[in-house]
C-alpha cells in the first residue's frame, strides 16, 4: 500500500509519542537517577558501590548462573520434545493435543504455576504431608527453597518457549536434504549430527536467548521458590524500590542488570556467528 507523507505522520505519531513518553523518557530518567544522590546532585557513588562491593557481584553471578542453567535444562528437555513433535508425530489430533499442552501453561500466570510446585513440594505441601503421614519424618523437609529448585521451576516455566522456537525451525527445514543424506548412505545419527542439528541451530539460539533473558529478569518464580534464601537481581531491585525506597540505587541496579544482559546476549550471538561461519559454511 502506498502511504503518503501526511498519513505516515498521523499513523506513526501516536505510537511514537506514546512509547516516547511512557517508555523512553522513563528509561532516560532511570539512567539519570542512577547517577544522582538523594539531593539531586550528580554522583558516581552508586556505581562505585556496585563495583567494589562483592555482594552485588555475587548476586549478579547467581542470577546469570541460574539463567545459564535454565537455558541448558530447557534445551536438554525441549530439543528432544521439539524433534519428536516434528518428525515422529504425524497424527493431526495428537499434534493438536501436544500443542494445547505446550501453550496452556504459557497462558497461565507464573504465579499459578509456581503455586503448583508449592502445593507439591512446599513445607505444607503434599509430599511433606505424605511423608509425615507415613511417619517417615517428624519435621517438614525443605524440598524447595534451593538454587536447584529455582532453576527447575524456571525451566518448567520456559520449556514451551524453547520447544516452540526449535519446533518452528525444524518444521520449516528442507526435508529433501535429510532424504539426500540418507540416500547417500548416512545413518540417522550422522544425518542428525551433520544436517539436522546444524540447520536447527538458529532455533536453538532464538530459544535460548528468549529463555535466558526471561530467566535473568524473572521475579515471581525466584522469589517464591527461593523462600527469600537466595537473592537474584530482580529481587534486589524490588527491595530497593519497594522496601528501602532507594530509587537511585535501585536505578543503578536496574541499569546494571540491563547492560549486563544486553552484553551477554551480544557476546553470545557474536560467538555463534563466528563459529557458524567457520564450521557450517552454506
Amino acid at each position: 500500500m502506498r502511504i503518503g507523507r501526511l498519513e505516515t505522520f498521523l499513523l506513526l505519531g501516536g505510537p511514537v509519542l506514546f512509547l516516547g513518553v511512557f517508555f523512553l523518557v522513563p528509561f532516560a530518567m532511570m539512567a539519570l537517577a542512577s547517577m544522582q544522590s538523594d539531593d539531586g546532585t550528580l554522583t558516581s557513588s552508586h556505581y562505585v558501590k556496585l563495583a567494589t562491593d562483592g555482594y552485588y557481584w555475587s548476586v549478579l553471578l547467581l542470577t546469570f548462573e541460574i539463567g545459564a542453567g535454565v537455558s541448558l535444562l530447557t534445551f536438554l528437555l525441549g530439543y528432544p520434545l521439539a524433534y519428536y513433535l516434528t518428525f515422529h508425530v504425524s497424527s493431526p489430533a495428537l499434534r493438536r493435543i501436544i500443542y494445547i499442552i505446550l501453550v496452556t501453561p504459557l497462558f497461565t500466570s507464573t504465579i499459578v504455576r509456581a503455586f503448583g510446585w508449592i502445593v507439591m513440594l512446599g513445607r505444607a505441601g503434599l509430599v511433606n504431608q505424605w511423608l509425615r503421614g507415613l511417619g517417615l519424618i517428624s519435621q517438614p523437609l525443605d524440598l524447595i527453597y534451593t538454587q536447584t529448585s529455582i532453576v527447575v521451576s524456571l525451566a518448567y516455566t520456559m520449556l514451551p518457549l524453547m520447544v516452540l522456537a526449535v519446533g518452528s525451525v525444524l518444521q520449516n527445514m528442507n526435508r529433501s536434504l535429510l532424504e539426500a543424506a540418507r540416500d547417500l548412505g548416512a545413518n540417522s545419527l550422522t544425518t542428525f549430527l551433520k544436517i539436522t542439528f546444524p540447520l536447527s541451530l538458529p532455533g536453538v539460539v532464538a530459544g535460548s536467548l528468549i529463555v535466558f533473558t526471561l530467566s535473568v529478569s524473572a521475579y515471581v518464580t525466584p522469589s517464591i521458590m527461593s523462600g527469600g534464601r537466595h537473592l537474584v537481581m530482580s529481587m534486589l531491585i524490588y527491595q530497593q524500590y519497594m522496601v528501602l525506597f532507594d530509587f537511585n540505587f535501585g536505578a543503578a541496579l536496574s541499569i546494571l542488570l540491563l547492560v549486563m544482559t544486553l552484553l551477554l546476549i551480544t557476546a553470545y550471538v557474536l560467538v555463534l556467528e563466528r563459529s557458524g561461519r567457520t564450521t557450517a559454511a552454506p
Binding site: F18, P26, L159
Partner: protein, 270 residues
C-alpha cells in the same frame, strides 16, 4: 537394513518417552492445582477428598477477589485495545513505507520483548512518581500497553510481510483511498495475525506480575498480584480455586486461538 530399522524404532521410543515425560512435567502442576481446588478438606489434599465447589463459591463471593478479578479483566481488555490501536498503524507504516530510521523505530517498538520486564516496571514507577500518577489505573494501563504492544506489532508485521502487495496496489489504482484500501483489502487479509497478536497481548497483560506489582495498592490489586501476595504467606484450597479459575481462562483462550487460526500457525508467527 534390519539393524537400521531396529535402531530407528529404539530412537522413536526414546524420543517419545522423553517427549511425553516433558509434557507430563508441564501439565502436572496445573493438574495438581485443579485437583486440590475440589477437596472437601480445609487443607490441601491431592487426590482431593470428596468433591465440592465450596471454594469456588467462596472465591466468587469474596469481594476482594472479585475486585481483583474485574480489575484484571478491564485492564487486559483496555491494554489490548490500546495496543491494537497503536500497534497496527505502527506495523503498517514500518512495513509499507521506507523512511530514514525505519529499522531503528521498529527495533525500539519491539525492544520491550527482550528487556527485563521488572526494569520496565521500575522505570515507569520512577517516572510516574515524578509525574504524579504513581499507583493508579493509568500507570497500570500504560505499563501494560508498553509490554503488550510488541506482540500486536510483530504479528501485524509478519502478516503484512507475507501479503501480496499487488492486491493493495490494484485497489489504489482503481481509485480506493488508502483508508478504504486498508479497511477493505488489507485488514481482512491480515486479520488472523492481528487476532493472534491481540490474544497474546490480552493474555500477557492478564497474567502479568512484574509490571503490575509496582503500580498496585493494597486495595487495588490485579488478580495475579493478589495471588502472589497471598501465596507467600498462606496456601489453602481457596487460593487453589482462584488459581484454577485462571487456568480455565487459559484453556479457554487456547481453544479460541486454536479454533480461529490454529495453534501451530499462531505460535510459529509469534
Amino acid at each position: 537394513m534390519r539393524l537400521h530399522l531396529r535402531s530407528s524404532i529404539a530412537t522413536h521410543l526414546a524420543l517419545g518417552t522423553i517427549g511425553w515425560l516433558a509434557l507430563a512435567f508441564l501439565l502436572l502442576p496445573l493438574i495438581v492445582v485443579i485437583g486440590v481446588s475440589f477437596t472437601e478438606t480445609p487443607y490441601l489434599k491431592f487426590p482431593p477428598q470428596g468433591f465440592t465447589l465450596k471454594w469456588y463459591a467462596q472465591f466468587f463471593h469474596d469481594t476482594s477477589y472479585m475486585d481483583a478479578f474485574w480489575l484484571s479483566v478491564v485492564l487486559a481488555t483496555s491494554a489490548t485495545l490500546l495496543a491494537l490501536l497503536l500497534g497496527i498503524p505502527a506495523g503498517l507504516v514500518v512495513m509499507r513505507r521506507s523512511f530514514p530510521g525505519r529499522q531503528s523505530i521498529a527495533a525500539i517498538f519491539l525492544s520491550p520483548l527482550i528487556l527485563p520486564m521488572i526494569v520496565i516496571g521500575v522505570a515507569l514507577l520512577q517516572f510516574a512518581t515524578v509525574a504524579g500518577f504513581a499507583r493508579s489505573f493509568f500507570a497500570l494501563l500504560v505499563g501494560h500497553v508498553v509490554v503488550v504492544m510488541p506482540y500486536v506489532m510483530r504479528t501485524t508485521m509478519a502478516s503484512l510481510h507475507s501479503f501480496d502487495l499487488s492486491i493493495e496496489e490494484a485497489a489504489q489504482d482503481l481509485g480506493a483511498t488508502s483508508a478504504e484500501t486498508f479497511f477493505l483489502v488489507t485488514l481482512p487479509q491480515i486479520k488472523p495475525g492481528v487476532v493472534a497478536g491481540g490474544l497474546f497481548a490480552f493474555i500477557t497483560s492478564w497474567i502479568n506480575v512484574e509490571v503490575s506489582i509496582f503500580h498496585s495498592r493494597q486495595e487495588f490489586l490485579t488478580l495475579p498480584v493478589k495471588l502472589f501476595n497471598y501465596v507467600q504467606f498462606n496456601i489453602d484450597p481457596l487460593i487453589a480455586a482462584a488459581s484454577a479459575v485462571t487456568i480455565y481462562f487459559a484453556v479457554l483462550a487456547v481453544i479460541v486461538l486454536d479454533m480461529m487460526i490454529g495453534l501451530e500457525k499462531a505460535t510459529s508467527r509469534s
